[in-house]
Subunit: 693 residues, 2 copies
DNA sequence: GTCTTTACCACCTATGTGCCAAAT
DNA sequence: TTATTTGGCACATAGGTGGTAAAG
């Protein structure tokens, strides 16, 4: 039985953008010393979106021989068969007359069982100055794409809540409010863009993505705060070129079982042991007869080591990440592993106060905060709250064993747990619980579109915004002044408009934010000289903006016909200012009726500067634009005057009706669009202002 | 003092294409057993051009931290800074309104001194079934490009002559006629396309290119014949997309000091020692006190080990090949190394009979055949013949020492040796020596454009074709029936037409040939399913066609202002049928007057199928189209009705006058173009027939 | 028999891991 | 002190080298 992944999808699949730059400000108490002026300047940049990162030296490995097999048989010349070149070809293909074909992406998490094992215990990911990979590698199988269409796959990691954690008494518990967020970075899969056929051929791995705690990282690694909880997200964008990303629809998928707490040193021995048992690179620490290293006291779990075995098994299978280093688990990582259940997943409450001062708690109720959301077997109530101090409905399982048991109950894909504890969420907005309930409404079918919404702190959990989304205040959301000079949020998806104006703008921002670091792998290309095509891409998108972290192999191999129902989706790229209350919006797709309450996750925010300064990139402006819920509420949708029409067909969503209603919102969007400027050409980016910096 | 690289440049910088596919036929006596049917089918494909190969898993490595420095300072977001993503950005830039800016590429070989050390002794490159890198890594520094324009950099390795060699009495000597050529493959630098600024930022390394003797290689490695001499070539193409390669101008650069003899096992101990001393991966064989391995009897040369030291030094410098494995020598590999002298270089005589039966010679006169061309210090006579039995003017130096000494004399960039022994060259054509002399004419200034010409066997040396080029038979060359069902050759450059019709067609072929092997790095994508956008790219360009061999880091870092004068150039991609006499043509640029006799090297040939079958991809057709010399002879040029106008500005050549004369040729070109079809859109490839296969 | 090719090996580089002690 | 973070370490994987002996 296949589980339907939870997809965060805006009604019209419009991307959701949130401000990213400025998310961390150099003067915050947190590691100020480690924040050089250069970094500050970068942060000061009008980069409201997470930086786009791509595997840099990823092109290191060779394609396994067998990977190329078939070419000759096909009568093809046994010639160039490598990743990079393949990408070029893909690009070439994109030049063909494009015929929009409906797609209906189904995404499943690879090695789900391994992830579950970690999740049960409370996944921890080490973050180091030099960058560390995620161990259970984030890998997904995709199905339902338009074979001929080209897609860009991305991944980012957002805060799961706004709490800081501590490992006390063998369990994680909230230890106060989250530290200022780090600059958001969007990691673009190195094989992007590639055809749907290519992406579906084999699991797509993101193991090149690296985590770091170095706020001034120049590699494009994902910067995280230690002792904070994060949620990885996966995005599918139908676009031929990264250039088009701004005008494209983002379909976001979240796998609750992949959340984790970033640490600089493992806290839970069980996690350590699980890592050692499954990560080939940690073999040296296994107690294989010959008294291996100390420490590891044979902690629990026979640690199946299933992952590694799988790696071995399909090492030849050609993974999408054949690059050196990562022994990727084959698509058959495990019988079930192959079919991950991308639940809509809980989330939640990154209410500024939720975790704020619970620094001294140690309350047993909270210990489970760190480990809540789970992939329950269709149990509509398997979702659990994250951080919040008030993890009321969360049974505090003292023993992981117990917890595991309880978790086994929930395996259904769409099981959503209405934790009913997001009371604090609405604090900033006057949204009512009604909206929440509305969301909880239809958690039945194996496919529940998850709403994408923007949130100031860009936490994963946007519980408080949720209400907003359903409150129908969307129209009012626009240009709502922010509390504290925070950027306004724009959620294109909320307007159900085709990936046009708003989307374009949003991505423009996103890319703009990306303009921070870079230089090709080649080396030190100074920003000045290298910089780039300021005139062609909005917000001065320079090559420096892009950093890759290594490239896994392209996705090939077999086709995975998983009958998932998915949700098209809202985009999700943006940065958030340091956790502060800001206007946030939530978009809701028409399908949302089948979604559950906590189904929305907080995508990045899209900060909008007030019209006063034509420069939208200026952060901290009083005026903000929030995208409110739209679909479920208004039921009407409107497409913005298509800026990028070729992206509208994206998902095979049934809701597919751009240009419907919500005219006022559109007008506002247009205004915003005007401000953003430079988004005139359909598909191509028109020269917009570079980042004012 | 900077040395001007020798550039092979067609008058109008038109690419030179030669037939590549079918170059090896499965039924040849040579290793027939190792030629599976699949390979045969591939060969049978209408791939007349060398397969395009790109580093596959190249995206493995991370960009050195420092490489990204500057981004933050520039106010950019310290985000994505990786190779792949950078490439995407480059692509984005390309979408900007393109303004043709004159460029004047200067190319210098990196680590020239190291190459010289090997060259003096007689470079040997091991080729293995699994693929072996070249040791002195082929790396160049580029200057003079249009910073904003995008370029595709390529490399290929062509036969230096048509002789087979043997190492006898401690020296290489001709041992008969060359074996059938292997399928030609063009290796596209994985960072392609990238802006001129990016390419110039740091040396561009091609260390991911691998050599193999496995005729059925599916990795896209360059297939060579053991005991044969080869000459690596470097090509610069101004194009935004690989798709445009067919319509673009190729500027080819040859560095004589990089030629080598392919071997399966080292023959000359001195080479072995030099490799051990300089290749970091061979450190284990160095006799560092602790009695290292046997064999190495401390053979001569303290073997400076300068290369490795350099590698260490600039490991941090961010090379264009930061990918794992290759410890690239920094840009400062050596004081002089950085400034290689890409001499026009000799060449020569791949006359079918030249080396044909000299299998029993052992004549001391020939021993030096293997090591002739050298980078002499502007000594116009430093060029030496390659293979030919009649290496008359080549002093047979019994001792390498002596040879080295003699070589030290020649360091000038443009020293060209008129060996005056290409008598046999003109055998096939009735060209007179006059043309040869004309070439020898001006070897004075530090910049001598080298002619690119097509030759049936696609050997590096095309001496016999040279005469043809100047004979003014170009017009007649078109559609000349081939002797033995060999493909016809088309040399767009000869027509001085802007990279339009012909070029397009040519590259179409080239890419078509590429369609053989592949699958992305991701793994086993079967040709069938993956295949690709047959409708968009002429000749069925599938992703399988492209294979990369690993990706070095993008080129960044500093800018190298080397005042080289170079030559724009003829393209060079194609396959050659097994050495057989076929119609060949030679293009000559107006500058050729300053070139020397043996300055031309043989680029690949561009096979043209006769019009009878609309399918140009059919090999062995009686009708062929050869491009004859054009510039020097006719002095008039004509541009084909621009198919791809944006490529015309390419080089900063003075000869830059597309659309001049030679109308008839153009008409023919149009006809051919028509046949090729699908080349209607300027820049973008229009859907043309897929390879009829 | 000679010459060339192949497979396998030990020895390198490069980099991913968790451990541990020292630093913060 | 306690809680985290840092850098160096030994041990993995992945892959580049030439040597060597055995195979063509």
């Amino acid at each position: 039985m296949i589980i339907s992944p939870r997809v965060l999808d805006a009604p019209m699949r419009d991307p959701v953008f949130t401000g990213a730059a400025m998310a961390y400000h150099p003067f915050h108490a947190h590691r100020p010393a480690d924040f050089p002026m250069s970094a500050f300047l970068a942060a000061a940049q009008p980069s409201f979106f997470p930086a786009l990162t791509l595997p840099p030296g990823a092109l290191t490995k060779q394609i396994p021989d067998h990977a190329l097999s078939g070419a000759a048989e096909a009568g093809l010349h046994p010639a160039l068969t490598r990743h990079h070149q393949a990408a070029h070809l893909r690009t070439l293909k994109s030049l063909e007359p494009e015929e929009e074909v409906e797609d209906d992406p189904k995404v499943t998490l690879e090695a789900k069982d391994l992830w579950d094992q970690f999740h049960k215990i409370g996944t921890e990911m080490v973050i180091t100055k030099s960058g560390r990979r995620m161990f259970p590698p984030f890998k997904v199988r995709i199905n339902g794409l338009d074979k001929k269409a080209k897609y860009i796959l991305l991944m980012d990691i957002v805060a799961a809540d706004d709490c800081r954690y501590k490992f006390h008494n063998s369990r994680w518990m909230v230890a106060g409010k989250a530290d200022p967020e780090m600059p958001k970075r969007m990691y673009i899969h190195p094989d992007s863009p590639a055809t749907g056929e290519q992406w579906m051929a084999k699991p797509v791995a993101f193991h090149k993505l690296k985590l770091t705690n170095n706020i001034s990282d120049k590699h494009g690694f994902t910067i995280l705060n230690s002792m904070h909880k994060y949620q990885p997200r996966f995005h599918i964008v139908r676009a031929n070129d990264i250039l088009k990303l701004p005008y494209s629809t983002f379909r976001t998928y979240v796998f609750p079982e992949t959340d984790f707490i970033a640490v600089t040193a493992y806290q839970n021995d069980k996690i350590t042991q699980l890592k050692i048992d499954n990560n080939p690179f940690a073999k040296g620490f296994r107690d294989t007869g010959n008294g291996r290293r100390e420490k590891r006291k044979q902690l629990t779990l026979p640690s199946l080591r299933m992952y590694e075995d799988q790696c071995k098994a399909d090492r030849e299978g050609g993974d999408s990440d054949a690059s050196s280093g990562e022994p990727t688990p084959g698509r058959d990582a495990s019988p079930l592993g192959a079919v991950s259940s991308p639940l809509r997943f809980s989330r939640l409450s990154r209410d500024e106060k939720a975790c704020t001062d619970s620094d001294q708690e140690l309350d047993p109720r909270e210990e489970r905060c760190a480990r809540a959301s789970s992939p329950g077997p269709r149990a509509p109530s398997s979702f659990s709250p994250r951080c919040e101090d008030e993890v009321k409905d969360r049974p505090s399982l003292e023993k992981e064993e117990d917890y595991l048991e309880s978790r086994k109950q929930s395996d259904s894909i769409f099981s959503i747990r209405n934790t009913e504890k997001d009371k604090s969420e609405n604090r900033h907005r006057k949204e009512t619980e009604s909206s929440k309930k509305e969301v909880d409404g239809g958690v039945k079918d194996g496919f529940s579109p998850l709403m994408v919404q923007t949130e100031s702190p860009s936490h994963f959990s946007a519980g408080h915004l949720q209400s907003l989304a359903f409150s129908g205040l969307h129209g009012q959301q626009f240009f709502n002044p922010l509390n504290t000079g925070q950027p306004l949020f724009i959620h294109p998806g909320q307007f159900a408009m085709a990936p046009g104006a708003f989307s374009a703008m949003s991505m423009g921002h996103l890319l703009a934010s990306v303009s921070g670091a870079s230089g090709l792998e080649n080396g030190g290309l100074s920003a000045q000289g290298t910089g780039s095509a300021p005139t062609s891409f909005p917000f001065h998108l320079s090559q420096h903006m892009l950093a890759s972290q290594g490239i896994p192999m392209p996705t090939f191999g077999g086709i995975f016909p998983y009958p998932y129902t998915y949700m098209a989706a809202a985009a999700a790229a943006a940065s958030a200012l340091p956790s502060s209350s800001a206007a946030s919006s939530l978009s809701r797709s028409p399908f949302l009726s089948s979604s559950r309450s906590r189904l929305r996750f907080s995508p990045y925010q899209l900060p909008m500067s007030i019209p006063q300064s034509t420069n939208l990139l200026t952060t901290g402006l009083p005026a903000s634009l929030n995208t409110g819920s739209e679909s479920s509420k208004s039921g009407s949708r409107e497409t913005s005057p298509g800026l990028d029409q070729n992206h509208t067909s994206g998902a095979g969503q049934s809701t597919h009706s751009p240009k419907t209603t919500l005219k006022e919102s559109i007008n506002e969007l247009h205004n915003i669009q005007r401000l953003v400027r430079g988004i005139q050409r359909e598909g191509a980016a028109s020269p917009s202002r570079d980042s004012p910096k």
